[in-house]
Symmetry: C2
Subunit: 628 residues, 2 copies
């Protein structure tokens, strides 16, 4: 290696004592890097590192990280209790109608929605790191459960159990980073498509017809097949409910009195709070009213409306999740064949991977929105929702996680700690104990209306405009995900989007931007070419860079300087190609000099017996260029 | 947008007139970027762009690029003719024994090797851009042909035809860039594994036994099954041939007389040239001698050695490649069933993708090694070898391309232009016309020895050391490819390696290095945190950056400056996350300032209604930090 590191040593001594000037930024950054440790040192460090890790597991800090309630419970105040009580009950009023409705999306009897809505809440209090994550069934998780377990309750509950285990495992292995590879546009495309699929799945209940199908296209073709069976009263009630819900949603944002909160009278404040509460509890209010209508019409003896029907009263049995399905016989005929554990697992198939990942995606979305800058620990969230799902599966709950809609209600109701979930859970238990007889009369169309009025706002049309203004090429993965999720099963749809994004990253790493400038040395005025690649040199881009530098070099016939200020890394392939490049220039008798190359990259280039000339001092560089 | 662009405007006016100082590099690079065109301008530009492209196709420059012989043929001199003649004949002496041997690798009668070795040479003269690419069967292509077409000649020839078409298509679509994603380590691992597989496939011929198998493991287990059938004379001859070839290979590098070429006498020069020629033609010499031995032993009537047997005399018929296979009956029994075109294609399967890609990989390797810095046009090479393969398939040749071994011989024999291929092709034709009766007596063991002595040097043990010194993590994709190619079919093996490399790139884009420095302003000495990410902000890294900046910001409680000198790009996800980050800081009442952010990235951030404070002037930045 023949590089001038005198300048390097000088700079390292001088710069820290100098005042920080406007242009030292990038340079200092390059020079301040850690000295590389030798391999032997690295190997020797493994022992202490393992000991340290083992010690960490039992340290107080780790304990507080893994059991977040230890941080807030000792400081729990009266104000916290009031805030959490109000938030917990408000969320509870949202959760109960949602739970009944989402069970329908999952193709299960309404009771299963409630079964999955209380144990998880209790678990989350102890393990959850975020105050606004009310555990329970969500629209997306319900749809994925339907796709994986085809509406068989045993499979759905087993899916909850296995999903929980996989989430815990992912948490332990720290796989939360996988979410980083779902970009904003893909996420928006996926969510929007899911919303449309869920909406389509509810249209049949509004119309009172039976239709089936897994994808958007299948659902609509099935709806049009059965459109002649449309039932009048279901349709009228469904559409009315949607309109009422939309109007009530508007009520939340109505504020009477003066704009400034301080100027309002107490009455105005109470009215505002009441309006907000009515708007927020719109689902519960609607369910109660429609239940009344359902009961009245039912008492006439005529079946005007399809009702959700019997819900077994009381809490579900606490028992292990079903690891096999017994054969069901209808007297002599076999309605459902026996299914062993392995058959159930193979039926669930890719759902076992997709459900945990999407659950984490949805859950983290809430955490990110309401975190207020506090870093979120994805591993801890995985452990929390994983354990909650495992426990849920013992009370016949199907997979769930935090939902953005409930999170928003919790946040807006002034929640203070995860303790709010306690009251939500208790409310669900009370509902199961005392209200199940009344749930019988809730019309299906009303529940479908609740879902439709909620998911329609999940279609993220609003992101298109900023995306167009910000970076047009990002529309492609977003739109592709959207279309693919409508046409294909959801897991393939999201994979299409991620695939396109990965291709973008690969292209990006393969084609660096390179700026080329014809310069002249100070004083002597010798012409030279300054070539500045804007990023690191790794294998997909190296041949491209070599071709370009050679082409420009042959064209200009001057010495070539590669400004490496932005090259923060390189690999073996780059090292070999740079060696060839240097030989190319040598064979033409042309000078090629490297300026400001990070010592760690020099080390990589050195590995292949590369003889490159590196300078860190601009004057020294110019002197060499001036030499004939 | 509230960024101070006064400094930006000043700098743009001033810097170009200033002498280029040591620290202006990165800054100037950032400020000099092109103004972004509006979308409407871009759309408007499509028309002229298309017209220009259409015009370009018929321009002289494009014609010269697509028909490279137009450049060199008019300037063809006597010296060129002599150089090419010598090189062409030397290469021919290598090609003929290679062709006979490689046909064995492909599981075809020896004649097919010769059939694929002359038409392609003639085509390459006109279309090829490189002087050292003698078209013909290669070891790797032969092995891939065997794996795809299982030794059925009709399928092999059809594979040649289709491979050619796909190569031409890839050339037209400019897909040559795909090769950039095969890194050096993966390439080395693949080549080494292929060499071992080929070597293993030839062991059976050296031992004179019959064995089969597709992968390394299958081959060796089959060899050990049949090891008791080992034939004495074949084994002796095979091992002797390998030793002789290794020794003769050494002869090429023997130089007698003084070291300096100028000091040598004419005799010394001639002896040196002769030694080199003998060493280079070692395969041809060995084949002639072994053929003699084979003929002698054959005349005794005893079958001491397995010979390659009848080769039909004369040139192959010029006819379209077989698009179906007729049924072959042995009197009453059907030996081979009829196969339609679609059945043949489905038999070839993934080979139709793998063979063209690997052919290009091998071909480009030669071009890169011997290009001497001239840029290589991958599209043109694809067109050349594609057309050559299509034409070859009309004379019953199977897929081929340039081989490194022949390329090296050509280069060392002093080739001047692609015209050398003419003499190589003529020599093969002469061999077919006049020497086929003599080929009958060539022992199989001798051909196997030729292959083994050649491929053993393809096992790239020598790259391990520089890779270890240069970048240890690059050993992983290399070794993984090597092991996977031995254990699995080759196409899966190379995919494993590429997959690992892609994961590296993705990880790399997800976890930027971020340097953090506690600084103080000049004079007033207000503390602030300078955070410098080392690369662009795209979606896999944005949440990580946000978490880290928030964490450091909360810890330090000082204003935070993000030094964006190295951020050359961003996407929509980054823009939304930066917006959240700015809101995080606002909610804490903490200052966050952006320094030296490229205007194009500012544009991306602006798209999502982001209110960020950007400074390009260090003094202005410090003034804002000093404000309370």
């Amino acid at each position: 290696m023949a590089y001038e590191n005198r300048a390097l040593n000088d700079s390292m001594l001088n710069i820290p004592s100098e005042p920080r000037g406007a242009f030292t930024g990038s340079n200092q950054f390059i020079l301040n890097e850690d000295a590389k440790k030798s391999t032997r040192d690295q190997l020797r460090a493994i022992g202490p590192w393992c000991r340290q890790k083992a010690k960490n597991i039992f340290r107080k800090k780790t304990l507080y990280k893994r059991l977040p309630f230890l941080s807030w419970l000792p400081r729990y105040s009266g104000a916290d209790a009031v805030g959490d009580l109000v938030a917990g009950i408000t969320v509870g009023l949202t959760v109960i109608p949602q739970a009944l409705a989402y069970a329908g999306i999952a193709g299960l009897p309404a009771a299963y929605g409630l079964y999955g809505s209380f144990m998880g809440c209790f678990v989350y209090i102890f393990l959850g790191s975020h105050k606004d994550v009310p555990m329970g069934p969500t629209a997306i998780a319900s749809l994925l459960t339907l796709q994986a377990s085809k509406g068989v309750w045993q499979r759905s509950v087993l899916l909850g159990f296995l999903t929980g285990l996989i989430e815990i495992l992912m948490g332990i292995l720290g796989l939360g980073f996988l979410l980083d590879f779902v970009s904003g546009p893909v996420n928006s495309g996926f969510t929007s498509a899911v919303a449309l699929v869920i909406l389509s799945s509810q249209v049949k209940d509004v119309l009172g017809i039976s239709a089936s199908g897994n994808t958007f296209i299948q659902m609509w073709s099935s709806i049009f097949e059965h459109i002649q069976d449309t039932r009048l009263w279901d349709t009228v009630l469904g559409i009315l409910c949607i309109i009422v819900l939309m109007l009530m949603r508007k009520i939340t944002s109505i504020k009477i009195g003066p704009e400034n909160d301080g100027d309002k009278t107490t009455v105005q404040k109470i009215v505002n709070k009441l309006l907000w509460l009515i708007g927020t509890s719109r689902n519960a209010i609607l369910v109660v009213i429609c239940g009344g209508i359902g009961a009245c019409l039912h008492s006439t003896g005529q079946q005007y409306l399809k009702l959700i029907g019997d819900i077994p009263p009381g809490l579900p049995a606490f028992q292990p999740p079903p690891f096999s399905i017994p054969a069901v016989t209808n007297g002599t005929e076999i309605i459902q064949e026996e299914e062993s554990f392995s058959e159930m697992v193979s039926q669930l198939g890719s759902g076992l991977i997709v459900v945990p990942l999407i659950a984490l995606l949805e859950n983290m979305a809430i955490c990110k929105v309401f975190s207020e800058g506090k870093p979120i620990d994805a591993s801890q969230e995985l452990l929390a929702i994983g354990t909650a799902n495992v426990v849920n599966s013992f009370v016949q709950g199907y997979p769930g996680n935090g939902a953005l809609s409930r999170g928003a209600v919790s946040h807006a109701s002034g929640s203070r700690t995860p303790m709010g979930s306690l009251y939500t859970g208790v409310l669900v238990i009370l509902a199961l104990l005392f209200f199940t007889p009344y749930f019988y009369f809730i019309p299906r169309a009303a529940l479908a209306a609740i879902i439709i009025a909620a998911v329609v706002f999940m279609v993220e049309v609003r992101v298109i405009k900023p995306m167009w203004r910000s970076k047009k090429s990002d529309l492609l993965p977003g739109l592709a995900t959207f279309v693919a999720c409508l046409a294909l099963p959801l897991e393939f749809g999201i994979l299409v989007g991620i695939g396109i994004n990965v291709v973008f990253i690969l292209y990006h790493s393969a084609r660096p931007k390179i700026s080329i400038e014809l310069c002249a040395t100070t004083g002597v005025n010798t012409k030279y070419l300054m070539i500045t690649p804007d990023r690191c040199l790794i294998f997909p881009s190296t041949e491209y860079v070599r071709n370009l530098v050679n082409k420009q070099g042959i064209k200009s016939q001057t010495p070539v300087v590669i400004d490496c200020s932005h090259i923060y890394g390189a690999d073996y392939t780059a090292a070999t190609v740079i060696e060839t490049l240097v030989r190319d220039f040598d064979s033409r008798g042309q000078k090629i000099l490297f300026y400001n190359l990070k010592p760690s990259v020099v080390h990589v280039f050195e590995g292949v017996d590369n003889h490159i000339l590196v300078y860190y001092d601009f004057d020294a560089l110019e002197r060499v260029i001036n030499e004939k």
